[in-house]
């Protein structure tokens, strides 16, 4: 029973860690706006945390520049299981306008399995919330799977 309770609280308390992999800061601002009184993602239990060790959902924005590549890889490795990766905006998926640049080593998929991808440049806060909620659902499933 305790295990089931833990499973179900997985999706109720997802803490977000945000990695900026060379983003233009547009998506970052939108992500913060999600937590403001207007959109209030906290009502689903979302919370921004400051360390990857405490994260459940890792939100990556930006097209993965050469500079941020290793930092991204290292930070992702430090997140405890189970966790979800959400790509924020078009950049991490496709490189967006930066595609083909010598400074870009994307897409994000190359480094980590992306669970949820929120498209847009920049995505709307509603879309971000929807994506995060989906990731939260995935967290519970992942844990259930891990228990089996």
């Amino acid at each position: 029973m305790l295990q089931n309770m833990i499973d179900s609280s997985m999706k109720k308390s997802p803490w977000i860690f945000h990695i900026n992999a060379g983003s233009c800061n547009g998506c970052d601002i939108e992500l913060v706006s999600v937590l403001t009184p207007r959109y209030d993602a906290e009502r689903y239990g979302f919370k921004l945390c400051g360390s990857p060790r405490q994260a459940d959902i890792v939100v990556v924005s930006g097209p993965v520049t050469m500079q941020s590549r290793e930092r991204l890889r290292r930070t992702l490795a430090q997140v405890p299981e189970p966790f979800c990766v959400v790509s924020l905006g078009s950049c991490p998926r496709s490189g967006n306008v930066f595609k083909g640049s010598y400074a870009i080593d994307g897409p994000l998929e190359k480094y980590v399995h992306v669970d949820v991808s929120v498209a847009g440049c920049t995505p709307k806060p509603e879309a971000i919330i929807a994506g995060l909620a989906q990731a939260a659902q995935l967290l519970e499933e992942k844990r259930k799977e891990a228990r089996k």
Binding site: M5, I6, D7, S9, M10, K12, S13, P14, P37, D40, E42, R43, Y44, G45, L48, C49, G50, S51, R53, Q54, D56, Q78, P80, E81, P82, R143
Partner: protein, 320 residues
Amino acid sequence: MTNVLLYAVHLFLFPGLLFIVVMGLLLAGIDRKLVARMQNRVGASILQPWYDFLKCCGKETIIPRHARKGLFLGAPVACFVILISAALFIPVFGGLSMSFEGDVVVILYLLTAAGVAIIVGSAASGSPFAGVGLSREMVAMISYELPFVLVLLAVGALCGQDSAYGVTFSMDEIVRWQTENGSSLLHPAMIPAAIAMLFVIPCEIGMHPFDIAEAETEISEGTLTEYSGAPLGVFKLCHCVKMYVMTALFCALFLGGLSTGILLVDALLEVVFCIIVTFLCMTVPHAICARFKVEQVFKFYWTFVSALALISLLLVWIMR
């Protein structure tokens, strides 16, 4: 046999472990909800701290390479245990506690020891962020300790004025005096001390405007940087329990002696007063203040808050 059973019930159920944890989680949840409502948000559910704790228990625990394993894992448990035993010395309305003579100093030191447990744990994690965090935690501790001590002395001097030594360090004594003479909050000399105590509480707990040690955006959660999984959950739980300990301490020091004699009513009263105190000293500053700087915290507590507590102490001295 019945004595042992009663003792076990006291220890683990009613004023003990279960009650304390439930109260702590409840207060934390209510605080979060109230902050959200004050910011015109819906906010997380009242059960959110409970979910957070459970979720943390379900996560993997990573022990960093630089960490000293035993201390790293032992610190959260030590912190929790110390806090629970501190809570047991604080009387619920009607004086239900494991109180003994001179327990006020013990409570003071147990709270310090709980802070030290956090410091030792974060030091053992070997992270430089935690290093910064622990130094801030320590500065916060130095900051609130002076006014806290003065408040305790003021209450002790007021409630112990009839005793042979002119002062008491016993929770039972403090509650008994208040039962006979009315709550100490009604005593005019105690009002500055009560205000000072209301400021001490959030800093002792590390609530928002004073959470310099766990500043998540500045220093990556500071003391908790390397913590993950169940130990993190226990630390979060400690945070909640601390909320109960401090608010209950406030109730015992300033609102004691309101007992009705009926256990259930007393427990309910306790809950209500704890929530009011939580609202006053934690929710309001949380909702309206941005985080203080380290040196600001220190200055604020050693000047303004200490002065308030000192005024109280001197008033008691003069008026008796």
